[in-house]
């Protein structure tokens, strides 16, 4: 499933049918203010969504399997299991913690408070208890959990702030769970990130000893956080060696979203320039842009009755890819003769296997 949220109070869920068609299977009013983010829980917990909104609440939704003909008609029903009303300001992000921590939900608000809730009984989604309330001192805009379930380090999340005052310090804070105090404590602030941060994302770990964090701010930045070895007797918080691995200002404007693909081999970013850019590291760990998706500026067509138009990926292949093949070759079968110019300029790259 994929979801899209529209920012005027509604959320929509889209499902891919057997024939490969995408259908909007549910659309409903989730909040009384703009919906900022929607996120899925791990399928181990069933079909569960969480949403957060300008209306100062976060909500948890569960899909109810209705009548069998509903499914055939492509309809599903979502009911609200709980509303979390602890925040006194707009809730800017909602994320589920990694599944090995159980069913835990984290929210962050414009008043700088991060809240971590837990559902002790995963079968009862209406009972959530507030386990931690953390004040970050700066208005928060985004959170990201480190997805690694390695026992080598405690649970960790990063919080970003959209406070635009450069003087108020680093806008990305890293918190870690402390076994002794049973609380989350701040272990690092990225002092070099002083502009407003709109999105952050930890990359999936993939057996590395260090963590990788992508940040959407006035540009795209990728940081490496290498845990420094603790003295054997030390039970204090971890220390990190922080290194910036890449910085890109190609969007030439504010970057609003960053997200890693499943294998953390590609980072996507979306900016004010209306483009999505894809970033990849080669095997020497040098990062480069490998793709740009941009709107062609054409106006919307088709009535709103047609829910979607799947422009199913013509792959990232430019139109004039076949320039090099002369007309003479088409038609007559030329067995095994290499064309005069078999590869034109690398415009024919699909995934420019940036190596």
């Amino acid at each position: 499933m994929c979801h899209i949220q529209s920012s005027v109070c509604f959320s929509e869920v889209w499902d891919k049918s057997e024939s490969g068609e995408w259908l909007c299977t549910a659309s409903w009013k989730t909040h009384s203010g703009s919906v900022w983010r929607v996120t899925w829980a791990h399928p181990e917990f069933g079909q569960v969504l969480a949403s957060c909104s300008f209306d100062r609440t976060a909500a948890v939704w569960e899909e109810i399997v209705g009548e069998s003909n509903d499914k055939q008609r492509g309809l599903s029903h979502w009911i609200k299991r709980t509303t979390l009303v602890d925040s006194r300001t707009s809730v800017t992000d909602v994320k589920f913690a990694p599944k090995h921590m159980g069913l835990m939900l984290t929210t962050c608000s414009a008043d700088g408070v991060v809240r971590i809730y837990e559902a002790p009984d995963v079968m009862n989604l209406s009972q959530w208890s507030l386990q931690h309330e953390i004040s970050c001192k700066l208005s928060c805009s985004c959170i990201s959990w480190n997805p690694s379930s390695s026992r080598a380090h405690p649970s960790m999340f990063a919080v970003g702030s959209d406070d635009s005052n450069v003087a108020s310090g680093g806008k990305v804070q890293i918190y870690e769970y402390n076994e002794n105090t049973r609380k989350y404590g701040k272990v690092e602030t990225l002092m070099t990130v002083t502009d407003a941060v709109h999105d952050i994302a930890f990359a999936p770990n993939l057996g590395r000893s260090f963590h990788v964090l992508a940040i959407a701010t006035k540009d795209v930045r990728i940081f490496k956080l290498a845990p420094m070895r603790k003295e054997s007797s030390s039970t204090g918080p971890s220390k990190f060696e922080v290194q910036i691995v890449a910085q890109f200002d190609n969007h030439n404007s504010q970057v609003w979203r960053v997200s890693w693909n499943i294998t953390s081999t590609l980072l996507a970013s979306s900016g004010d320039d209306g483009c999505v850019r894809l970033w990849k590291a080669n095997y020497m760990d040098n990062w480069k842009c490998t793709g740009i998706l941009r709107g062609d500026g054409s106006p919307l067509s088709a009535s709103s009755g047609q829910p979607i138009s799947t422009t199913v990926g013509s792959s990232l292949l430019s139109q004039n890819a076949l320039n090099g093949i002369s007309a003479g070759r088409i038609g007559r079968r030329a067995p095994f003769a290499p064309p005069l110019r078999p590869l034109t300029s690398s415009k024919i790259d699909q995934t420019p296997a940036y190596y």
Partner: protein, 645 residues
């Protein structure tokens, strides 16, 4: 730098207005984009666009390539390490040839594909495969076979011949015509044959012209003579390279004498042939159209100038040939750079350029793997200690993983990446869409074989949850047993029992009857299993055993208190049989249980929102039970007290 600019690809998304943001969400091997405005209100767009990267894995013909090369790959990995490299070379060459034949088979199939809408993309795929095979073949000759001087040229000749097959087509046309020697392509064919060192065929062709022009018989005979005497090195023979070289020089001098003597002056075509045999650059370059490519030019030039060329000398000739052949205006194409890098024996450059220029990881991954097995790659140390081969294989396999059936091939690739293969597999296998139970079982088997216990648990849990939501209790139960999830098993057992109370029957009897040791996973599950056993015994009229079991369910506290009323109600028919089933002692115990139950029911904490009717029913049941128990007790005492005479 220029290369990185060229490696960028840009995709326009239709119907996304300027001034809006582009939202995105990652899918499985694809990305969804839609129009939106972050941090603002306003209507969104009703469109989502799905952008997919690799089309290749969706091509049915290329699928064969992936499948068969997977087979070769796995075979290659299992070649024994302890054999000395010398013995392994023929094996590696053979494997390289296997890969190439798979590519060729694919090409052939693609070329047979008809249908207009496919033509452009098909042609593109064919041309890419052609290039891949060309490069691979050269790599095989230079790196894997590593032919020494003498054999090297022969291999290069083969290479060129294989990739310039249009000569044969032309020759066929000429020969099939009424008068071949007068066909307009006649001399083109002859020259092409000579350029490729196919001298016997050239002689045959020339023979036809010779018979037509008896007046020029002498010079044709002379040419035929020269062609027949051109020495070719025989690697398996007794002649050393030096001896061959001497012989070749003699022949070369003889040809030169013919030219100086103007022997062929009367026939311009024959004179051209003579100059070619001498390796005259200008003459060769005059036949650019027949040569087609600078590497053909290179090989022909070497054939007629320096047939004993050493591998280390190749790059010098290659560079100069390329420069001479290409116009000063046109820049070398990516293919040219790759081939040049190969001639320079710069393997890493070849791989790097191929990665950038070609559109999928298949080629570089498999070739690099093979070269690595030949111990030709120095492994560059990466940050996390892996190497180039593994990096490419991981990229390739990750791409495969997004395909609904090819993902199974990817598993083997991950298995043979010793450093990171496992962790990549763990991450990606969890994302395989578990559309059907069969697929889930397939995925599970893969995880179980590799002791990926966390993934096993997770997949089973997902399936159990899904089944539970769709009210398929039996399926949910078997999945949670497989996940060894006691809590979930308890939950589902509860549901079964609730269902029984509501409907009076069990669903999924097969499953419950055959729980076996899995029954012990949770108390509730044990109870469910035993309770069903009770029903079975009753059905088989083994009343005494059924009775004993029923009682033990309560006395051993296997049954939850909430279920006791049901159990006692189940005891009623046993109590009301003609024959006494429960012994006196057993009856006392039953009564005790009943009292325990009713006393807890009468406490103030009991359900106060039970309707009057429900309370009545409860009371009646209790009365009935008390009566039946008393009667049974009486009968039991009498029976037990009676002495058999």
């Amino acid at each position: 730098d220029l290369k990185s600019v060229l490696s960028l690809s840009i995709q326009n998304i239709p119907a996304l207005r300027r001034g809006k943001h582009m939202g995105f969400a990652w899918g499985q091997g694809n990305i969804f984009v839609y129009e939106t405005l972050f941090k603002a209100t306003g209507s969104g767009s009703p469109f989502i666009h799905e952008v997919r990267k690799d089309e290749d894995i969706y091509s049915p013909i290329l699928r064969k390539l992936f499948n068969e090369s997977h087979h070769i790959f796995v075979g290659l990995q299992t070649i024994r390490e302890d054999l000395p490299s010398k013995n392994k070379k023929p094996q590696f060459v053979s494997i390289s040839k296997n890969y190439r034949s798979v590519i060729r088979a694919c090409m052939e199939e693609l070329q047979q594909v008809a249908g207009y809408p496919l033509i452009r993309s098909v042609l593109l795929q064919v041309s890419i495969l052609l290039a891949i095979e060309l490069i691979w073949n050269l790599c095989e000759v230079l790196f894997i076979d590593a032919a020494p001087a003498g054999s090297l040229l022969l291999h290069l000749l083969d290479w060129v011949r294989l990739h310039k097959a249009d000569v044969d087509e032309k020759a066929r046309d000429v020969l099939q015509s009424d008068s071949p020697a007068e066909h307009r392509d006649y001399w083109d064919v002859v020259v092409s044959y000579v350029l490729q060192g196919r001298l016997d065929e050239a002689r045959q062709m020339l023979g036809k012209k010779a018979t037509l022009t008896p007046a020029a018989n002498n010079i044709f005979k002379m040419m035929d003579n020269l062609l027949s005497k051109m020495p070719f090195y025989n690697p398996g023979g007794t002649q050393t390279l030096t001896e061959f070289d001497v012989k070749w020089r003699h022949w070369h001098e003889e040809v030169d004498r013919c030219l100086q003597d103007n022997s062929f002056a009367s026939n311009q075509h024959l004179e051209v042939l003579c100059k070619i045999l001498l390796g005259d650059e200008d003459t060769l370059l005059e036949h650019k159209d027949l040569l087609g490519t600078w590497y053909h030019f290179l090989v022909s030039r070497l054939l007629f100038c320096h047939p004993t060329v050493k591998p280390t000398e190749l790059h010098y000739y290659a560079q100069s040939c390329m420069t001479m052949f290409l116009d000063s205006r046109s820049a070398p194409e990516p293919l040219d750079s790759i081939l040049l890098a190969a001639f320079e024996f710069d393997i890493h450059q070849v791989i790097k350029d191929c990665s950038i220029a070609l559109n999928n990881w298949w080629f570089v991954a498999h070739l690099t793997d093979l070269l690595d097995h030949c111990k030709l790659l120095q492994s560059h140390n990466l940050h996390f200690g892996s190497n180039l081969r593994e990096f490419l294989l991981l990229e390739y396999a990750s791409g495969l993983f997004t395909h609904h059936s090819l993902w199974q091939l990817a598993v083997d690739y991950f298995d043979h990446c010793l450093e990171f293969g496992r962790v990549y597999l763990e991450l990606q296998i969890e994302r395989v869409p578990l559309d059907t139970e069969r697929k889930a079982l397939k995925v599970l088997r893969i995880c179980e074989q590799r002791q990926m216990s966390e993934q096993v648990r997770s997949i089973c849990k997902i399936m159990a949850m899904r089944a539970l939501r769709n009210n398929r209790l039996g399926s949910a139960l078997s999945w949670s047993i497989r996940a060894k999830d006691a809590a979930f098993a308890t939950l589902i057992s509860e549901r079964f029992l609730q269902d029984y109370c509501a409907k009076g029957t069990f669903s999924d009897l097969d499953l419950i009857d055959n729980l076996g040791p899995a029954m012990l996973l949770s108390d509730r599950l044990t109870f469910l299993g035993k309770y069903r056993e009770f029903h079975k015994l009753y059905g088989e009229k083994r009343f005494k055993e059924a009775a004993k079991l029923l009682l033990s369910l309560m006395t051993a506290k296997i049954a939850p208190r909430s279920f006791w009323m049901t159990l006692l109600t189940d005891a009623l028919p046993l109590l009301e049989q003609k024959e006494v089933i429960f012994s006196a002692d057993q009856t006392y115990e039953l009564m005790f249980c009943l009292e325990e139950l009713t006393s807890s029911l009468n406490t103030p904490s009991s359900d106060s929102d039970k309707s009057m009717q429900e309370e009545d029913v409860e009371l009646t049941k209790v009365e009935l039970l008390r009566l039946a128990l008393s009667r049974n007790l009486a009968m039991a005492i009498v029976k037990e007290g009676t002495v058999e005479t």
